[in-house]
Structure formats: C-alpha cells, structure tokens
C-alpha cells in the first residue's frame, strides 16, 4: 500500500491529526536534505513534501523562491532528488514523500519516465503546481497507474463544480490552500476554511491537509482541526535558511508544531 494511505489510515485509527512538512530539496544541499528527512521522521512528521527546485517558481512567495535559488546553486536536479529518495528508502527511511514540482521539469524528463522512476525510487505522491486539470488529466492518470498519488490543490476561490472535477483526479490527500495567493507566512488564518472543507468532503473521502502561510503552533493546530492534517512550509524553510546545516536545530523548531497538532 502507498505510504501516504498507510499513514492517514493509522492517524485515523489513533484519532490524530497529521503534520506535513515542506522543505526545498537541495537547500542548502541534497546531503543535508537527507539528514533533515531522517530527523523529521524521527520527531514524527507524517508526510514530507520535497520541493524540486525550479528557476521560475511561479506559485511561491519569496521565502521559497530564495530556497529554490540556493538549491539550484548547490547543483540540485530532479534526477538528484530522485536519487536522494532512493537512498533514503535504502537506509530504511519510510516517511511518506510527496514531490512538489513545476511541470516543465516533468515535461523535460518525460512524463512516463518520470512516473516510473518516481515510483521506483519510493516517491508516494506528486503535487504539480502549474498544471490545470484540463491539461493535467493524462499526467495524473499516468501517475496513478504507476502507483504514485497525484495530489491536487484546491483554493478558496475554486468553485464547487470545479472541486468536483479536481477530486476525481486526486489520490493520497487533498491539499486545501488556506488562503488566496502564493506560499509564505502570514499572521492571520482565513475564516472560511471550515465551509470549504465541508464542500470538499461532499465529493471526496480523501483526507484534507490544509496549508499555505502557517507559521506558528497555534495556527497549525487551528487549521489541523478544520481538516485531517496541517502543512507547514515557508516557516520551516526560513529556519533552514538560517540553520540549514544543523538538522537537529531545525527539528527543534518543528517539534513544537507537531506537538500542538497532535495534542
């Protein structure tokens, strides 16, 4: 069974909320990303989202843009990130891994080839940021066939009829964007989250992870309560920008977030 499904099933049995951590693969370098992945697994991160660095990260705010720049500077490629996942699996690391990726990288790699290698390496899900469902259906099917979950994004502005189409292509979990805009930290959480999640639940049985702009334990808990898991990205990336070479130090920032979500 796909590691994401296993994880959410276990969480459900325990009656616990999940915690999804996003980091940019290769920031500050791939070796360190490996260390962070193992450390995150140890402290109880449920799903690891790995951003594959792209030169033009359209959907990202400045924190993730700078992280992608650092990752590219350290020589990170899609091939390299796939190798990293393969090595992690070989070392016994079983944390569910989702790629967060811009479609041009997949296109260049070859869609079929990518799906096959992602599955072989041990990638559990792929979130493609810039692929609308009209054009994405074929790719999402290719992923599903290869055993990799296509993770779809739903925004506060996504109308109900579109939610219905989107969730049909989805696997693993639904990623609900807790506010309008790009990734980045914010101090207030949007208030309509619960209503929109209710709409999503009408059409899909998949767990709903909520994120975009979560920066402290209180917010993390609040959004986790509205869904099945919370996603924290930029706030962790910001820590890596400062202490990226010290995985333990980054973990000390993440641990309280997890604790609050699981409380």
């Amino acid at each position: 069974m796909n590691r994401i499904d296993q994880k959410f099933r276990a969480l459900r049995t325990l009656g616990k909320k999940g915690f999804v951590a996003y980091i940019a693969a290769g920031d500050p370098n791939l070796k360190q990303t490996g260390a962070l992945a193992r450390e995150f697994e140890r402290i109880g991160v449920d799903v690891l989202e790995l951003g594959v660095p792209f030169s033009d990260p359209l959907a990202d705010g400045v924190v993730n843009q700078l992280a992608a720049e650092r990752a590219l500077k350290s020589g990170t490629t899609l091939r390299g990130v796939l190798d990293l996942v393969r090595n992690l699996r070989r070392q016994g690391c079983e944390i569910p891994i989702v790629f967060y990726i811009y479609f041009n990288l997949v296109h260049r790699y070859g869609v079929k080839n990518f799906a096959k290698e992602a599955c072989r390496a041990g990638v559990d899900g792929v979130l493609t940021l810039d692929l609308p469902p009209e054009e994405g259906a074929a790719f999402q099917q290719t992923l599903t066939k290869a055993g990799v979950h296509p993770i779809v994004l739903i925004a506060p502005t996504t109308p109900t009829n579109r939610i219905r189409t989107l969730v049909k292509q989805a696997g693993g979990f639904i990623y609900y964007i807790s506010r309008e805009g790009v990734t980045g930290m914010q101090s207030k959480v949007a208030t309509t989250i619960r209503d929109r999640v209710a709409v999503i639940r009408q059409y899909s049985k998949l767990p709903v992870a909520i994120g975009f702009g979560i920066s402290n334990p209180k917010q993390a808990r609040a959004v986790a309560m509205d869904g099945d898991a919370c996603v924290v990205g930029s706030a962790i990336v910001n820590q890596i920008a400062q202490n990226g070479r010290d995985a333990k130090k980054v973990a000390r920032f993440v641990a309280p977030l997890i604790k609050e979500v699981k409380r």
């Binding site: 033009d56 990260p57 959907a59 400045v62 041009n104 990288l105 609308p132 502005t157």
Partner: protein
C-alpha cells in the same frame, strides 16, 4: 485556475457583444488615434535598392507603441467584469505605460511590475508610469527582467483575484490570454491589409515584425494568415549571438517545447528543464518563451523566424532615424534590421510591410551610451 475560466467566459461573451466591440473601436479611434498610416518609406526603399517598403506606423499611436491596442481592449473587459484594480508586467515599459494610461483614463488603481534591470534601461518609461499615477514595483528576483515581472504579476493576481484584473502585455500566459491579446492586436493587420490593397491593388509579398512575446507580429500577421502567397517573418532578439544565455531567440539553438508561466510553447531551457538566462539589447524581446500560437504556426510552416543581433538592431535603429526621420523602438529596429538585410535580394517587384511597433524615445539614453553618441 477558476479565474481564468471566468475570464475566458466573459471574454467570449464580450467578443460577441456588438456594443463592446463598438466601445473598443471608439476608444481606439478617438483616444488612441487609429487607424495608423501604412507609410511608403520612399527613401528607405531607394537606399536599400530592392523591395518596396511600407511601414505600419504603430509608433504614432498614443503612448508610442502597439501595446495600447490591447490595453484598451482589456481594461474595457475589466470594467465589464466589475474589477477595480489593474495590474500588469512590463519589459520595455511600453505596456506598462499603456496600462497606466488607460487605468488613469478610467480611474482605476494600477500597479506595474518591472524587473530592476529593465527599470534602469527604460527609465523614461518608469517616470511616465509614475506620472500617470501608477505604482511601479521593482522585481528583484532572478535575472530581473520581463520573465520575473510576469511571475510577480501572476502572484499578485492570485492573491488579489477578486477585485483585480491582470492585463498581460503580450500573447502569453494561460488561455484565454494569448487568444484575447491576439484579437485585440489583430486590428493592425486588418488595417494594413485594407491599406495595401488600396495603395498597391495587391497583397504584399512579405510581412516582417519583431517578436518578443509575439503580440505586434501576430497582430500584423493574423489578417493575412489565409493569404497563401504572403510570406511572414518574425524577428527574434539575437542578442550577442546564439550561445546559451546570450540571446532570446526561442526558435534557435537552446529553444525547445516546454511549459512556462501557464503556456506550453517554445522555451529557452537547459537539459534539466531549468529556464535559461536570456539577453537582448531590447528589453521587450528579452524573454525566454514565445507566444504558443507562434510555436504552432512555425511548426505548421506558416511563419518563418529569423533573428537580429544587438549590433544589427542598433545599426538599424540609427539607420532608420537617418534615412526616414523615424526613431524606432529598439524592438522594432530588429524588424528593420531584417529589411535592411533582405530588401535587395527580394527585388524591386516585391512589396514588404514592416511593423513599426513602437517609437524609440524610451531607448535614446541607452542607445546614446551604447553607441557613444
């Protein structure tokens, strides 16, 4: 994205609405100054000693470039959709100025994103936008030119989508933008076709235009696409020559099919799919992707693509000024450079229409520095 679907729906309705079309035509005539002349460049023709050269004078439009054709159409659409805030990206600054202008006329809030490098090389247009009441936001990411400005405008749009309309400046971005911008620019070719038939009683042999994102070129070409005998040439920014990072010619080496900023088209990229750095002396041509319709028409063999290097364009810039008394935009100078090179070979019986997409006032300071005037 749902907002794109909404925009596509609204545009499809507007396009069938006679009142909307009349409104666009009204502002283009009364405010922008259409139709523009199709000017027979007599001295240029004589000096080059070959084809008869006509210039489509988009440089004479209000604000000085073809960009305003699209800005007028899109702001009327934005009004129709009840939006109160307008954003745009700009490279050379002409699209930014055109957008700031129509936003001022319709009393809408306006924010323009522009790469820092372009703000320096097109400083005159930065002042113009500010004078017109727009806020110009410097973009400092990546290579700090048009590509990053588009990304930043798109980020703003998804953040403020409910009350903001994004007026993209070329035939780029996701559907319906490329089609919509092309439709608003197609007035150039419709006029030119009518005008040449009046002047010459026949269709031209060659159409030539510079290609940044591709709006002035597709604008000129569109009305002639079915005229099989009319050859069409798009001229890209050849920069310092066709080496990685030195040019912006998407159909030359380094360009291949990819996906950038919501468009599947030819993109300058490396083996891993990372977008390559680009260079052109002309800010309006300095961009890694080309409008998707160009990729299609090139593959269909309908349009051919060439390039002019920085020195070619600068030489044409000066030549056109001296021979015709017209200072072209550095972008348009790329089309003139092609004409300079090919007029003679085409022979005296040939008729060429070159698109003078904009005037060169914005480029005078940069050119003075480069040419040590």
């Amino acid at each position: 994205m749902a907002p794109l679907q909404e925009l596509a729906k609204e545009y499809a309705k507007a396009r069938r609405d006679k009142k909307f079309r009349q409104q666009v035509a009204y502002y283009l005539r009364e405010y922008v100054g259409r139709p523009t002349p199709l000017y027979f460049a007599e001295r240029l023709t004589r000096e080059l000693g070959g084809a008869k050269i006509y210039l489509k004078r988009e440089d004479l439009l209000h604000t000085g470039a073809h960009k305003i054709n699209n800005a007028v159409g899109q702001i009327l659409l934005a009004k129709r959709m009840g939006k109160s805030r307008i954003i745009a990206e700009t490279g050379a600054g002409q699209h930014g100025v055109a957008t700031a202008t129509v936003a001022a006329m319709f009393g809408m809030e306006c924010v323009i994103y522009m790469g820092e490098v372009d703000m320096a090389r097109q400083a005159l247009n930065v002042y113009r936008m500010r004078l017109l009441g727009a806020e110009v936001r410097a973009v400092t990411a990546g290579q700090r030119t048009l590509k990053e400005a588009i990304s930043e405008a798109m980020r703003d749009w998804v953040t403020n989508i409910r009350h903001t309309h994004y007026i993209i400046g070329s035939v780029l971005g996701a559907h319906p933008y490329p089609v919509m911008v092309r439709d608003f620019q197609a007035v150039i070719g419709r006029e030119a076709r009518r005008q040449i038939l009046k002047h010459e009683k026949r269709l031209p042999d060659v159409l030539v235009a510079c290609v940044g994102g591709g709006s002035n070129s597709i604008g000129l070409f569109h009305a002639f696409l079915k005229d099989k005998g009319v050859r069409m040439v798009g001229v890209e920014g050849g920069g310092r020559g066709i080496k990685p990072g030195d040019h912006a010619a998407r159909f030359q080496k380094g360009g291949s099919l990819g996906v950038l900023q919501g468009t599947r088209t030819f993109v300058l990229q490396d083996e891993d799919g990372q977008i390559m750095l680009t260079h052109s002396v002309s800010a309006g041509l300095d961009y890694a992707a080309i409008g998707p319709e160009h990729s299609y028409l090139r593959d269909a063999g309908r349009i051919e693509y060439s390039y002019a290097t920085d020195p070619d364009a600068l030489a044409a810039f000066q030549y056109c000024a001296r021979v015709e008394g017209i200072i072209p935009a550095l972008e348009s100078a790329h089309a003139i450079a092609w004409v300079q090179k090919h007029a003679k070979k085409l022979g005296r019986d040939a008729i060429v229409i070159a698109n003078m997409s904009g005037r060169g006032d914005k480029d005078v300071m940069q050119a003075a520095e480069l040419m040590k005037l």
